[in-house]
């Protein structure tokens, strides 16, 4: 205990620090490549530069929600039901919500430039919005209270339902758009002719953001573990206090 006080405390370790520094370097590189070095697209002009943050954000969001579902499944299927999987789900869910929000906003800014409007009822946009709301619900359920295990089981089940529901929502929204009325604006997948440096920037963005996600999820998982530990310590103290009631 004593020796621990002298060492710097927190959720970081040597490895996460290395990961963090690498992430920062790649992010700086990405900024230069994306904003300065890379050229303009033939169709989209300079607006294509939004892509280098927008696409990696939504990629991270999908990655995060996938991880939430995967860790929830591991939690439920594990024999000892280790809470670490629950915390990984929670951390990934939270980060996913952050990145889906970021990509919705950057996407609508991009949309304003290329389509002339912030929002179109395009299938992909609409189902992304649903994704956002669904996982806000997931985070709300995580905060419902109860013991750690109650929280873990409830939210793990919900995460698995969500992953089932997403394709259904996506499919129906998709059919809704394509059958009902043709999108009046440009295809959101408008062919962007990417030259070498642009492609490089996009890949750089994907790698940098994935590393960022890894860094965030590790730290968040650890700080969630500490939150649980604080609650457990509170419980120990409360049990002591409760026992003392009896002797009086």
């Amino acid at each position: 205990m004593n020796s621990a006080v002298t060492t710097p405390r927190g959720t970081g370790t040597r490895n996460t620090r290395i990961l963090g520094v690498l992430t920062i370097i790649l992010m700086v590189l990405l900024t230069f490549c994306g904003l300065i070095f890379s050229g303009e697209d033939i169709n989209q002009g300079s607006t294509v530069r939004i892509m280098y943050v927008h696409v990696p954000s939504i990629w991270v969001a999908y990655l995060a929600f996938g991880m939430t579902a995967l860790c929830s499944a591991i939690y439920l299927s594990g024999r000892n039901r280790s809470l670490i999987w629950d915390r990984f789900s929670g951390a990934a869910g939270e980060i996913g919500v952050l990145f889906v929000a970021v990509s919705l906003v950057t996407g609508s800014l991009w949309g304003r430039l290329t389509w002339g409007t912030y929002w179109v009822w395009d299938a992909r946009l609409t189902s992304t919005a649903f994704l956002f709301i669904t996982y806000i619900g997931y985070l709300a359920v995580r905060r419902l209270g109860g013991t750690h295990r109650q929280r873990a089981r409830r939210s793990a089940v919900l995460a698995l339902i969500a992953i089932l529901e997403i394709p259904l929502v996506h499919f129906s929204v998709n059919v809704w758009r394509t059958l009902h009325q043709k999108a009046s604006v440009a295809d959101p997948n408008a062919k962007v002719a990417l030259d070498g440096l642009m492609l490089f920037s996009l890949f750089l963005g994907l790698i940098a953001f994935t590393m960022l996600f890894a860094w965030l999820v590790i730290h968040r998982q650890r700080s969630l573990a500490l939150e649980d530990a604080v609650a457990d310590r509170g419980l120990d103290a409360a049990i002591e206090a409760r026992r003392e009631e009896a002797t009086n």
């Binding site: 013991t147 049990i239 002591e240």
Partner: protein
Amino acid sequence: METVIELNGVVAVLGSFPALAGVNLTVQRGEILLLQGPNGAGKTSLLRVCAGLMPIERGTGTILGIDLATNRQDIRTRVGLLGHTNGLYLDLSVEQNIQFWASTVGASKDEVANAMRTMRVDGRLAKVKAGQLSAGQRRRTALASLIVRRAEIWLLDEPHAGLDAAGRDELDALLRNAVAAGATVVLASHESERAASLATRTVTVDGGGAQ
């Protein structure tokens, strides 16, 4: 003697409050165990844990030989709990309520009629909505629904509350009959004199523990 309830260092929490802070308790078949203690001592939580309703956070326990940590669902089919609330549907009549609880275990019409007669909620009362009953009548209805459930362990939280003198005598007789038929009774009560004369053993619950 057969042990039907065995709890070792059981901790159960309500939110972040440890309602039970390490309970050790052993109950044998055929006992009528009285739980005594001040308000907030943990009597209700103890009964809910025994019913498999409240999860245990720490410690171990078995009810009727079934592990509390893993198989709470199996325990529930074999115990009966009468809590603070009566578990009645206020918009259903007395008879409809008892009939419903009977149908969840597949009890026959005769059993329903018998239970209603035993708790004197037959006749005119049978057609009255539970929401319009007096507190004592509701308690009787809840007890009648408990009878049809044919529980092996009866867990009763303040069963005498709201009952008149005749009702209390009937309840005591009912519990003695149930025990004679092989059941075990655990009850929490403030009616210490009456309950003590009924009980075969008394345990004091305080500060989330039991002595």
